[in-house]
């Protein structure tokens, strides 16, 4: 079966500087993969280029999603096809109510899928349901998007958005950074509850500790813009013990 996400030979430049240098990655539907790597290895670039951010130029290679080349698609088109990015630094949108924002997003996606739009009442009950499920403060959904949120609240808001938007591929970009252990547990539970044969996760992280809570099917090591090693969950433990250090021997 075609993997849900299939990246081959991907080279990406940001402001003229090559960040990804021939990256290959495949994630079958229903699996959770972790990409680990030191600072500057290209982790966030990978997350952004999958989501289609402007300024991330693909010079070579291809990104396939559900078998389709999505390299040229606009970010919103990818989102409507089920790609979700949980941001490392969620953005504040002052004055825009969190619920209103998410309702706009859900209805854009539903429109794209020829589903009827949700009205305010239906949507609010969906929100309430998810909020309860995630043990979030209900106050959060009435406030402007991320405005005045603590770091932890912002990350939890990303997960809340994910559970409402129900993506097919969720990319979590260093979602664990800045979280205390309780927040980490809540976020991880939110993710685990969503794991299903119909959904894949790409968990991007610097540290192994998140992977104690979200146990991946595969772990990949990203270094200097390439996947240099892949393995099972034990690979993460080994990296934690040994550090990234020198990459395993890679053909030059």
């Amino acid at each position: 079966m075609t993997p849900l996400l299939q990246i081959s030979g991907l080279h990406v430049e940001v402001e003229g500087r090559e960040i990804l240098r021939g990256l290959d990655l495949e994630i079958p539907l229903g699996e959770t993969h972790a990409v680990m790597g030191p600072n500057g290895s290209g982790k966030s670039t990978l997350a952004h280029v999958i989501a289609g951010r402007e300024g991330y130029e693909i010079t070579r290679g291809v990104i396939r999603y559900g078998g389709e080349d999505v390299s040229e698609l606009e970010p919103e088109e990818r989102a409507r096809k089920g790609v979700f990015l949980a941001f490392q630094y969620p953005v504040e949108i002052p004055g825009v109510n969190n619920t209103y924002f998410l309702k706009a997003a859900v209805n854009e996606i539903r429109k794209h899928r020829s589903q009827p739009e949700l009205d305010a009442v239906d949507f609010l009950s969906l929100m309430r349901d998810r909020v309860k499920l995630l043990d979030f403060d209900e106050d959060l959904i009435k406030r402007p998007v991320n405005e005045g949120f603590s770091g932890g609240e912002k990350k939890r808001n990303e997960i809340l958005q994910m559970t409402v938007l129900e993506p097919t591929l969720a990319v979590l970009d260093e979602t664990d950074s800045g979280l205390d252990i309780d927040a980490l547990r809540i976020v991880a539970e939110g993710v685990n509850r969503m794991r299903s044969p119909e959904r894949s996760f790409l968990v991007i992280t610097h540290y192994q500790r998140l992977l104690n809570h979200i146990v991946p099917d595969r772990v990949h090591v990203l270094q200097d813009g390439r996947i240099v090693e892949s393995g099972g969950g034990d690979l993460a433990l080994r990296l934690e013990a040994e550090g990234y250090g020198k990459p395993a021997a890679v053909p030059a």
Binding site: V14, E15, I19, N39, G40, G42, K43, S44, T45, A51, R53, E54, G55, E74, P75, E76, A79, R80, F84, L85, F87, Q88, Y89, P90, V91, E92, I93, P94, G95, V96, F101, L102, A104, A105, E108, I109, H112, P144, V145, Q161, L165
Partner: protein
């Protein structure tokens, strides 16, 4: 890797802010107009057409005399070629509307009725805007006023200014020019000399006006100016909420709109005045558009009176406008909530004056400027506290949102305090719509145009929430539409 910060490039912004003006059509209707040029004879002619009493003609002529000795103000941060006041026609009216005197709602020229339907303002007393009474001003005359009879049952007078001069001359004479005198400033004096129509509102003692009153101003004829005058009087303990809207056809010429609005609030009265201004803004290169040079002022004459101005300014090539409050009564309150949006080559210099005279007077100023393209937006405001204004309070907040690298925002607050007891707070901020905000919205499936609209509306929320419900949605859409790109 730290998240990359990038501002929006000029091309991106141009795509996002390219605007389509939905109300740019011209109504093909026979128009009666006076030839261009301004003179005593023209003023006499206008006054004669309106069958005005001698005192009003004299008042106009005094204003004209004073105006002739005045120079056009140039302190605003706006630039435009010199206006030739002899090239403007000062009176234009649809023939069908002026023939045979005032019309009942059933007898309105179908062409005019269609025009207002196209503008979304049905001139009938049922349907969508059932809770709103409308006075429709077309070029220099009022063509229809709805719900007049129903309001009259409560003693509320809502009619065109011309009708008020005829039917309620004592009220007009008592209050006209008491807030904005005929000597006030260049554009107000010009207006006093040539004003043709506008709305008149009188709310008697203790009456809470049960519906929104609104005037819809439409400029249609070319090479004309519109000079309307609005006078609202709220007697002791009364309440009224009033809204004005405005549009004009798309033309290459610039047209002058120099209006005067006077509000009088007596003891314990409250006037809520809202504006959704959508005059033709000119094209992408700044050709054409309305010069909106307007004097608006309210007098909180009685103790505990309360006047609030709310404005959403999205149209006009140039806006020069400072809705102000004279806080004369003790414990009176003045408020100014403003959103001004300038795109393409639009310029806005707008703000307010809060003059604290009475004791315990309070004022609030919330100004939100949005600039896109080459748009220039200036907040200019004055808070003045006179020696007798003990315990005066002011809070001012001026926020600017920039879209794209070529837009500009400026804040010019004047503070003039002559009482040691006054407490004034001023906050200001400037921000940009960042690529990161746009990407965040798009990653959630939202179109870039929709995203900009969402961000702009969020920025303006504190002001939009002050609008009457019926119009908040309209204004919200307008802020979206004004920034809508040609998608594709």
């Amino acid at each position: 890797m730290p998240e990359q910060q990038r501002t929006l490039g000029a091309a991106e912004v141009e795509r996002l802010v390219e605007r389509e003006y939905a109300y740019g059509f011209v109504t093909d209707i026979e128009t009666e107009r006076v030839p261009p040029g301004l003179s005593e004879d023209v003023i006499r002619l206008i006054s004669e057409k309106k069958e005005e009493p001698q005192w009003l003609l004299d008042w106009r002529l005094r204003a004209y005399e004073i105006w002739q000795g005045m120079t056009e103000p140039n302190w605003a941060k706006v630039s435009y070629p010199r206006i030739d006041y002899d090239e403007i026609s000062y009176y234009a009216a649809p023939k069908s509307a002026v023939a045979d005197g005032p019309k009942s709602l059933d007898d309105i020229d179908p062409e005019l009725r269609r025009t207002y339907e196209k503008l979304g303002i049905p001139l009938v007393e049922q349907q969508r805007l059932a809770g709103v009474a409308v006075d429709a001003v077309f070029d220099s005359v009022s063509v229809a006023t709805t719900f007049k009879e129903k309001l009259a049952e409560l003693g509320v007078i809502f009619c065109s200014f011309s009708e008020a001069v005829k039917e309620h001359p004592d009220l007009v004479r008592k209050y006209l020019g008491t807030v904005v005198p005929h000597t006030d400033n260049f554009f107000a004096s010009l207006n006093s000399a040539v004003f043709s129509d506008g709305s008149f509102v009188y709310v008697p003692k203790g009456v809470r006006c049960p519906m929104e009153l609104s005037t819809y101003f439409r400029i249609n004829a070319s090479e004309t100016g519109q000079f309307e005058r609005t006078l609202i009087i709220a007697e002791e303990g009364s309440y009224v909420s009033y809204l004005e809207g405005c549009t004009a056809p798309m033309r290459d010429e610039n047209q002058l709109h120099a209006a005067v609005v006077e509000l009088v609030a007596l003891e314990d009265a409250r006037i809520k005045y809202s504006t959704v201004q959508n005059w033709y803004p000119g094209d992408k290169n700044g050709v054409g558009g309305i010069y909106n040079f307007v004097t608006k002022r309210g007098k909180c004459a009685g103790a505990r009176s309360h006047i609030s101005w709310t404005q959403v300014e999205t149209g006009s090539a140039i806006t020069w406008k400072y809705p102000s409050c004279i806080l004369l009564g003790d414990d009176s309150i003045g408020e100014f909530y403003s959103v001004a949006l300038t795109a393409n080559r639009q310029q806005a210099d707008t703000g307010t004056k809060m003059i604290h005279i009475g004791k315990n007077t309070k004022s609030t100023i919330i100004s939100k400027g949005i600039s896109a393209g080459y748009g220039q937006n200036t907040y200019r405001g004055q808070v003045k506290v006179l020696p007798g204004a003990w315990n005066a309070r002011n809070f001012s907040q001026c926020d600017s949102l920039l879209i794209g690298p070529d837009s500009g925002a400026h804040t010019v607050p004047y503070i003039d305090v002559a009482n040691p007891d006054a407490q004034l707070e001023h906050e200001a901020s400037t921000s940009r719509i960042g690529e990161d905000q746009l990407f965040y919205c798009r990653q959630r499936g939202i179109d870039p145009e929709e995203a900009v609209s969402l961000i702009v509306n969020g920025f303006a929320r504190d002001v939009l929430s002050e609008l009457p419900m019926e119009f908040a949605v309209e204004a919200q859409k307008l802020l979206g539409v004004s920034l809508e790109g040609a998608v594709g």
